[in-house]
């Protein structure tokens, strides 16, 4: 095979030090017609400055409403290899660890039925198998699922949960992010594969407030590990950092957002009552400081991209929850939230948008969550608020 289209514009992107996606497509084009025509169509887009994909149609695998993104070329005559070019979203394992054996198996299937192109990974965290035709969807699914793989979410469903590396390789993880993510994923298989929600729902799990999975920006529910109790200080190690040249006053104490630290040149003190667990001091002095003893998670709700009324970040709805199997309290909460969303949510209305439309206090009341100052940056300003019957004197 080889490249059958001239791609001068794309070729330019093979130059330069950073690894080139064009080279990747060309590699695949060596043995895939899909990839060859993808090159061609992409060159056309680069030339014309416009996409050549049509609005996706509904395609999928039997019994599932999700996991496949349908995609058709608007210039199929020119590029028949991408006339259909659907992607499969394969649910990645928690933490994105792989054995080479498993990866090779996926490659094998994909070389057989698809373009030989992937995204490792999609922004949500799926393994994206990039481009095949409709009739190959079932075979790919059969091959993969028989080897232990399943599809992730798409459409108005639970989307593939993802997490930071957590306790697998990080000293700061207050929760077992990978176990939680795995459990959630398996708990909600039906909700993931058969879209029945008003819109998508994403879970992301981070082990601490550093949030290496960006959960606060892009998960309808963000689960972020935290602790209660005092930060553990090893004063000798603190001194070692100082001796090694760290300006503890300037780099640590003065950058503590709550101003709860002090350093007299030999002892580092923390007024833990005022600490908001931002992780700065701990991250900068990993050997000397460790999170406090009582571990759990803060549950936040609602983040999403700007469409329609502006981007949201997740905000606190449960300040502290133990996250231990079987996660009953957690699943119970999620179920109550979904019930409410299901009752009031409009089509294509994310949970955060719904709460915004109907009011956060109403959400709290109807879902049965106690108000807590941690939920707000500040209380309301304008004195316009509601009372219930029981608050009124008749």
């Amino acid at each position: 095979m080889g490249t059958k289209h001239k791609t001068p514009l794309l070729d330019d992107l093979e130059k330069g030090p950073f690894p080139s996606f064009v080279t990747e497509i060309k590699k695949a084009a060596e043995h895939s017609e899909y990839a060859q025509d993808l090159l061609g169509q992409l060159e056309l887009s680069f030339k014309e400055k416009v996409t050549h994909w049509k609005h996706g149609g509904i395609v999928g695998v039997r019994g599932y409403g999700s996991g496949v993104i349908g995609r058709y070329s608007d210039v199929p005559e020119e590029f028949p290899g991408v006339a259909h070019f659907h992607t499969l979203r394969v649910n990645s394992p928690s933490g994105f660890f792989y054995s080479t054996k498993a990866l090779r198996e996926i490659c094998e299937v994909w070389d057989k039925y698809g373009s030989g192109l992937t995204n490792m990974h999609g922004s949500t965290g799926d393994i994206i198998l990039l481009g095949t035709k409709t009739e190959n969807l079932e075979p790919v699914f059969a091959e993969l699922s028989s080897r232990g793989w399943d599809l992730g979410g798409s459409g108005s469903a639970v989307r593939t949960p993802s997490c930071c590396v957590g306790q697998a390789r990080c000293e700061w993880s207050n929760i077992d992010t990978m176990a939680i993510t795995h459990d959630i994923t398996h708990h909600y298989q039906d909700e993931m594969h058969r879209p029945a929600f008003p819109y998508k729902f994403k879970f992301k799990v981070a082990g601490c407030a550093i949030d290496c999975i960006a959960s606060i920006a892009r998960a309808d529910m963000s689960i972020i590990g935290t602790w209660k109790g005092d930060i553990q200080i090893d004063q000798d190690e603190v001194k070692a950092y100082a001796a090694a040249g760290m300006d503890i006053q300037k780099e640590i104490v003065e950058l503590c957002p709550t101003g709860c630290m002090s350093w007299d040149g030999s002892e580092l003190k923390i007024n833990n009552e005022d600490c908001n667990r931002c992780m700065h001091c701990i991250a900068k002095m990993a050997k000397a400081l460790r999170p406090g003893p009582e571990k759990g998670a803060t549950i936040l709700l609602g983040s999403k991209a700007p469409i329609v009324t502006g981007a949201l970040m997740s905000w606190v709805i449960v300040p502290f929850m133990k996250m231990e199997p079987p996660y009953e309290e957690f699943y119970d909460l999620v179920d109550r939230i979904w019930e409410w969303w299901d009752e009031y949510g409009k089509n294509r209305e994310r949970i955060g948008e719904l709460i915004e439309r109907l009011g956060f206090p109403r959400f709290l009341k109807e879902v049965g969550i106690e108000p807590h100052p941690a939920m707000v940056k500040e209380p309301r300003r304008d004195p316009f608020f509601f009372w219930s019957e029981e608050d009124i004197e008749k």
């Binding site: 995609r71 394992p93 660890f97 490659c107 390789r169 000293e171 949030d211 970040m313 294509r348």
Partner: protein
Amino acid sequence: MAELPQRQTDIGPPHYEQFLPPVIKKNYGKWIYHEELGPGYMVHVAESGDRVWTVRVASPRLLSTDTIKEICDIADKHCDGYLRFTTRNNIEFMVDDESKVEPLMKELKEKGYMIGGIGSRISNVVHTQGWVHCHSAATDASGIVKALMDELHEYFTSKDLQARVRLAVACCVNMCGAVHCSDIAIVGVHKTPPRIEHERLRNLCEIPSTVASCPTSAISPDPQKKSVKIKLEKCMYCGNCYSVCPSMPIADPKNDGVAIVVGGKVSNMRSHPMFSKLAIPWLPNNPPRWPEVVDAVRKILDAYIADARKHERVGEWIERIGWEKFFKLTNLEFKLQHVDDFTFARETWRMAATFKW
């Protein structure tokens, strides 16, 4: 299809445990600290005294199976057959003995892999499909990322910065990347309203949901045409109607382009997470290398490098100096488009008499 194996459903992803390198499995949850050893490698130390060295390499994310197989070869050779990807799509190779680091890095370099991205640097660019796979794209994503990282690769491989600078690219305002909370990010934008294909619309689209899709209520039913109409002056080209109704294409090669937003962050370290704010409302699509875009990012990055303090993220830097100073230092023009008129506009107005000249 007779030869196909028995399909299974709702089995979920495989359990992660089988994919953990032995040293990770053994010390799971027992790590006590780590040290950054260079731009591209670090060591984590466990309670047991065990250590794991991680070497990180860049990836274009869009990977051919050939490349995946190649990295599998490397992992087989050096890492007992395990590897992982990061949440920003880099590849991590882990070894359990210091002596294995050097040979691993040597082979990676020989094979042309770019080692780096750890610590206060520019790591991989979170991005989206663009013209490679999406109907909605106002620009390409992979192309911009490649052009950008060719320019900035030293901040991946060697040079360090005051803090992490997270870059992201999204090819439309759906923002499948984390653009809305990134230090410096690029988002594809339209500049002209969708065109209505009345004929197709009648058959393809639901009128009520099309009308409802518009955040500015620019769309109303057009009963005569059994279609919809757009109040043009109300349209801010978000493309949400096109997401809902394919007969309202909005792509416009002459006017589509990108906006640059800055100052977002996700981590809660020191400061709370921040949304990105508009720095440049529009730059043209100039494939294959988007020179105006690359220049603009460079300009913003240079101003940051020149003026920010240690540990200060882009957003923290701008919060400290003020946006009026940001526009001055970057020499960017402040335009009408910077002034918010969307949902939460009023919280952005300067309700104070204090600002910098």
